[in-house]
């Protein structure tokens, strides 16, 4: 069993299987934060223009409203500090727009969704994590802890997991088979699932590879898993299209 590169959240479900979810590290967190920051920045640009309109009061029409505008300004500052994050996480099931964009989600340490209390707490503690500047405390905490949690996450008992976009089509995809008959793969050896995964990931990436690398990698895979004699292999390696078609039949052989 290969060791996972990133830390994972292990959850034992009542169905007696263990879920294992990838934890989001500091890169994902920063990216999501920047996206949210951008959104809030645009909000403030709009608010600023509205506000100057109200205060400069070209038409003399808003004089009555300027008290209200000031109230809104003060409330707005507070809202962007705290309400935005908390409300988003409560309403969007642990995500803010930035987190959704990056594909990360807040969950409790047992993998269940967060409630109002957790969201409120982890965002209250944002103030401490932002000490003394640029989220220094939070970043240190994220870097140094095993599951990349900041102080707010510790107090609320939450962490961030990553959502990968996985395409299952690569297992089913059948390329148009070339007209020339392919040599049959030696069916004596069954491919282990790890090898299948390797071949499939090569096939999925092949169209975007440099031609030289494409041929070289294809040839090595044929040598490793093909089990063909010299003549067949030489014929096969003549064209990259046939190499990949052959590899595909290898992988799909046992359906």
């Amino acid at each position: 069993m290969s060791t996972p590169a990133s830390p994972r959240l292990d959850v034992a479900t009542p169905e007696r299987v263990s879920l294992s979810l990838p934890v989001a590290g500091i890169g994902y967190r920063c990216l999501a934060y920047l996206a949210d920051l951008l959104l809030l920045f645009f909000f403030w640009v709009v608010a600023y223009f509205l506000f100057t309109l109200l205060v400069s009061d070209v038409l003399g029409f808003f004089q009555e409203l300027s008290g209200l505008a000031r109230t809104l300004l003060v409330v707005g500052v507070f809202a962007t500090q705290w309400v935005y994050w908390t409300a988003c996480e409560v309403l969007m099931e642990g995500q803010t727009p930035g987190k959704r964009l990056v594909g990360i989600r807040v969950v409790r340490v047992d993998g269940s969704p967060v409630g109002v209390l957790e969201c409120a707490v982890r965002n209250l503690v944002r103030l401490v994590d932002a000490l003394p500047f640029f989220y220094a405390v939070g970043c240190l905490s994220v870097l140094l802890t095993r599951q990349h949690r900041r102080l707010g996450d510790f107090l609320a008992g939450t962490l961030l997991v990553r959502e990968e976009r996985i395409d299952l089509d690569k297992y089913a995809a059948t390329a148009a088979t070339p007209a020339a008959p392919l040599p049959l793969p030696a069916s004596a050896q069954r491919l282990a699932s790890r090898d299948v995964e390797l071949v499939l990931s090569f096939l999925a990436r092949a169209p975007w590879l440099e031609p030289a690398a494409r041929t070289r990698l294809g040839a090595r895979l044929v040598e490793r898993y093909g089990g063909l004699d010299e003549a067949d292999r030489a014929a096969l390696l003549a064209s990259p299209g046939r190499v990949e078609a052959f590899l595909r039949t290898c992988v799909q052989a046992e359906r």
């Binding site: 263990s18 294992s20 000031r70 109230t71 699932s193 995964e197």
Partner: protein, 336 residues
């Protein structure tokens, strides 16, 4: 017998896609009862597939995919119960006062630190006239030297509702910082409480020395009792957090923190509405001389007595256990 990877995916994939579709509809809130049963069945099958993938296809994309799919279904099926108005009401009727009384020692300690700060600040300014230069901010000193209150100007530059909301957010920030800095092993809270005390004590002493004591009292009387109480309570909550870090008892530190932190947070969040209320008083009643001093003092006293009467008196005699919100993890599907 393990099937090959593509065969496994090809055979089981329709179920997974169906489960994915149901989960999307569950999120959108358009799930019917019979579909809910299907969701449950499909989740169990996916869990079995995950176990299979774990054993025979570990580390592949299928394994990762099933992990994610099961996690989503798990999250949908084992949801925490939604907090509703009844739960909020019960929180303010029973839980908040009870939590406060159960942790009275922390609040008392926090109050002690605050008074220590006040005494220190006042003593320094009263005993050593030049101490004020050290402790009181420059602009405040200038106001006091001119014999006017710095709060008098507030209403002439901004309307009272703007003042009230500014005060509300400022107080909220102070409260949050007081509480949250408890995460720095409690030292942050200790510092904030003493610091606030020193600030208040030194300003009060300076005003008293310059003959402005009545004016300061006039400003503080209406909102002071409740506002300072809330800061003290937030300090108590911060100390609870700090204590769980220094002395977690039997539990690992992180778990002790979550457990005690939950209690502490209840105190802080419970105080928020009162903070907003008192900011209204501070913005509308306290500044200026629209109300005579005795009215302000009476109001402040009444509010303080009401606040503490509520905290110490409410939620006492009911023997029925109140359901704790959000901690239970019972199977609970909410199709809405």
């Amino acid at each position: 017998m393990a099937a090959s990877l593509p065969a496994f995916v090809g055979r089981r994939r329709p179920d997974w896609d169906a489960l994915k579709g149901l989960l999307a509809r569950q999120r959108a809130g358009t799930l019917r009862l019979e579909e809910l049963r299907t969701l449950d069945v499909l989740y169990r099958r996916a869990a079995a597939d995950l176990a299979h993938a774990q054993t025979f296809h570990a580390g592949t994309d299928v394994h990762r995919f099933l992990n994610q799919l099961c996690a989503q279904a798990y999250a949908a099926i084992y949801q925490p119960p939604r907090e509703r108005w009844a739960a909020t009401l019960a929180f303010f009727r029973h839980e908040l006062p009870r939590t406060l009384r159960a942790n009275g020692a922390f609040v008392a300690t926090s109050a002690g630190l605050f008074f220590l700060g006040i005494l220190l600040g006042a003593a320094v300014v009263l005993l050593e006239p030049r101490g004020a230069e050290l402790l009181v901010p420059r602009n405040l000193r200038e106001y006091v030297a001119r014999g006017e209150m710095w709060t008098d100007g507030i209403l002439s530059v901004a309307p009272p509702n703007a003042v009230a909301s500014a005060i509300a957010t400022n107080n909220l920030t102070v409260t949050i910082v007081t509480f949250a800095s408890g995460l720095l092993l409690g030292l942050g809270t200790v510092f904030v409480m003493i610091n606030n005390g020193v600030h208040l004590g030194s300003v009060a002493a300076l005003c008293a020395r310059e003959g402005m004591g009545p004016k300061l009292l006039d400003f503080i009387a209406a909102h002071g009792p409740v506002e300072l109480s809330i800061i003290v309570i937030a300090g108590g909550a911060g100390l609870m957090v700090g204590q769980s870090l220094i002395d977690p008892g039997e539990l690992p530190r992180s778990q002790a923190l979550v457990l005690r932190g939950r209690e502490a947070v209840k105190l802080v969040l419970g105080c928020a509405p009162f903070l907003a209320l008192i900011a209204g008083v501070e913005g509308f009643v306290s500044p200026g001389d629209f109300f005579p001093t005795w009215v302000k003092a009476l109001l402040g006293l009444a509010l303080g007595v009401l606040f503490w009467g509520y905290l110490l008196g409410a939620g006492h005699p009911t023997p029925t256990p109140t359901p704790t919100s959000g901690t239970g993890n019972l199977p609970h599907v909410d199709p809405l």
